[in-house]
């Protein structure tokens, strides 16, 4: 009787182990299937011609150059706007503001709420604010500003975590030498927090690179056959170009869509690799 109880409990444990292992395996198998599907359909279409050509009505001539240029422009500007704003806000919240004040609590609550707002809603904000109200039209600038607002909460939270992890003794040691607070921040706190800030920021920027919905709302075009020459030009980006090709019925366009996906994923992977390299480099220096 007693033995029975133990063996049934052991059996239950084994079955449960199998179930949770299966659940974990499900995600991994899905990832493998997804990558296989993309490479199976797209790899044959991926060559230098594809990367260096403009989009076209004919799938065999179509390329991704204008979308690639649009993505680089948009993300470049987004980095330029979002890093100072995001890191600056984090510095203010962690180093300057009075943590107990109602304004600080409101800021903190607000930031975590903004992080949960669907990206398409930021697109509506961009449409109303940047495209119409400020009259930036359907330009790279409007797109970059919209993406900046979208990823700012992510950068703020990641930078705050990094700044929080700086030991207080370092700050006090620096202040005791008679330097100002800002010098302490730029000379001691930021270098120490940099790996964390960079990792979080690069993850946020990769998210911006893969976003299509807010930019569609802002009015990025699906078909652009020229290279943008300035921030006020109209534009398209890789995810929108991929969306445009995916929604066409012909099978060939599905194939170039997946070739486009490969290009996008290579960009995202390189961004993440850069994040890892930077983190290791700065971490070694700190140790």
């Amino acid at each position: 009787m007693r033995d029975n109880n133990i063996s049934s409990r052991k059996l239950k444990n084994a079955v449960f182990h199998g179930i949770v292992l299966g659940a974990t395996g499900f995600g991994i198998v899905a990832l493998i299937l997804l990558l296989m599907q993309v490479f199976r359909t797209g790899l044959m279409w991926l060559d230098w011609d594809f990367i260096l050509s403009m989009p076209s009505r004919f799938p065999e001539k179509a390329g991704i150059l204008s979308a690639l240029a649009g993505s680089i422009w948009t993300i470049g500007l987004t980095i330029l706007f979002s890093l100072p704003l995001g890191i600056g806000t984090a510095i203010y919240l962690e180093e300057y503001s009075n943590k107990k004040s109602w304004y600080n609590k409101l800021l903190q609550l607000n930031i975590s709420n903004l992080a949960g707002v669907p990206s398409i809603v930021y697109g509506m904000l961009g449409l109303a604010l940047f495209v119409r109200f400020l009259n930036f039209e359907r330009s790279i600038l409007s797109g970059a500003l919209t993406l900046t607002l979208l990823i700012m909460p992510v950068i703020i939270v990641a930078s705050q975590e990094a700044i929080k992890s700086v030991p207080n003794t370092l700050r006090q040691g620096s202040l005791a030498l008679g330097v100002t607070k800002w010098q302490t921040i730029t000379g001691v706190v930021l270098p120490y927090a940099l790996p964390g800030i960079l990792t979080g920021s690069i993850l946020a920027i990769s998210r911006a690179m893969g976003e299509a919905a807010p930019l569609i709302m802002v009015g990025a075009a699906g078909y652009v056959a020229f290279l943008p020459s300035g921030p006020m030009d109209s534009f398209t980006v890789l995810p929108i170009q991929i969306f445009n090709w995916t929604s066409r019925p012909q099978a060939e366009f599905q194939n170039i869509a997946s070739a486009g996906i490969i290009v996008l994923m290579i960009l995202l992977l390189s961004a993440n690799a850069v994040a890892i390299i930077l983190r290791n480099k700065y971490q070694n220096r700190m140790d």
Binding site: R9, M124, A212, I261
Partner: protein, 300 residues
């Protein structure tokens, strides 16, 4: 002495300017929220001057771009909810299972390799999941259930479920890892199996975080756009059949924006009204998640 004084003043001035600049940066996040609420409300109020609010919430016909125009948001709402429920049916058990495996069963080195792999899933852009749904999941569904339409809710739900597995898994796992090991050791010392420790100790102790993770996952699924825009279809019909083509709130917004909508037209205002509803729903859900965590927080 004098020069020292002077330079100190200079530093003080610089410091106070820097603080002011940083303060302005921090205020931008507040301004963003205000701007979202104001822009959405502005157009939505104008919208409801032209369309009755009762029709909006009770009519089951949604044809804002066709004549006669109908503005019943229910088909979009049921479409959205069907997708959200469907993706949670995939993501919640799989995510929770992964979390339990990683925190209670997996050896350390397995955990170290499996966790980053799962996180890759979260880093893949949603457009790629849309492509996967349309070109892989839908044909697969069709071979099993031939009545599946080319665009359907089930396929989009499954793809979205896969996408939010890592979110559920990492939120739940973080909470599980925070359960003190001494409690686990005590249970093992009493002769418990790993399954008993997981289900009778760790899961109950982290129930609030798991609940919050579920609510956040649901909210995320409601606001997700590109997967449904590609794979779920563009037919705002009042149906609960997951194999049918449907339209979600976000799908409608994208679809109408692909055409050239002119400011001031009723179509333009409709998009804002739908966006306001979407914002309201996700806002309430995110607040609920926060309340659950705060209310039932386990202190060790």
């Amino acid at each position: 002495m004098r020069t020292l004084h002077k330079s100190k003043n200079k530093y003080n001035l610089k410091e106070s300017i820097i603080v002011k600049i940083l303060y302005v940066f921090a205020s931008i996040s507040i301004l963003t929220t205000i701007a979202i609420v104001v822009t959405l409300l502005e157009e939505t109020i104008v919208f409801f001057r032209e369309v009755s609010i009762i029709e909006f919430f009770t009519s089951t016909k949604w044809t804002p771009t066709l004549r006669p125009q109908n503005f019943g948001v229910l088909p979009l709402l049921t479409g959205t909810m069907m997708i959200a429920v469907g993706s949670c049916i995939v993501a919640l058990p799989m995510g929770l299972g992964s979390a339990i495996y990683l925190s209670e069963y997996a050896p350390k080195n397995v955990r170290k390799t499996v966790k980053p792999i799962l996180e890759i899933l979260a880093g893949i852009p949603s457009i790629v999941y849309g492509f996967f749904a349309l070109t892989f999941i839908t044909p697969l569904l069709k071979t099993i259930l031939p009545e599946t339409q080319v665009f359907n809710a089930a396929s989009a739900s499954i793809a979205m479920g896969i996408m939010i597995i890592p979110m559920v898994a990492s939120l739940s796992e973080d909470a599980m890892m925070a359960v003190p090991d001494s409690i686990r050791q005590a249970a093992y010392a009493l002769g418990s199996t790993r399954q008993e420790v997981a289900l009778k100790i760790v899961v109950p102790a982290t129930l609030s975080s798991i609940g919050a993770a579920f609510v956040l996952a649901f909210s995320r699924a409601i606001g997700e756009t590109m997967i449904v825009a590609i794979a779920a279809g563009q037919s705002p019909v009042f149906t609960l059949n997951p194999l049918d083509s449907i339209q979600t709130m976000t799908g409608f917004m994208v679809n109408i924006s692909l055409g050239d909508i002119q400011q001031g037209t009723i179509e333009y205002k409709t998009v804002f009204a739908v966006a306001a509803l979407l914002f309201a729903i996700t806002f309430v859900m995110n607040m609920t998640a926060k309340a659950i965590v705060n209310r039932y927080k386990e202190e060790y």
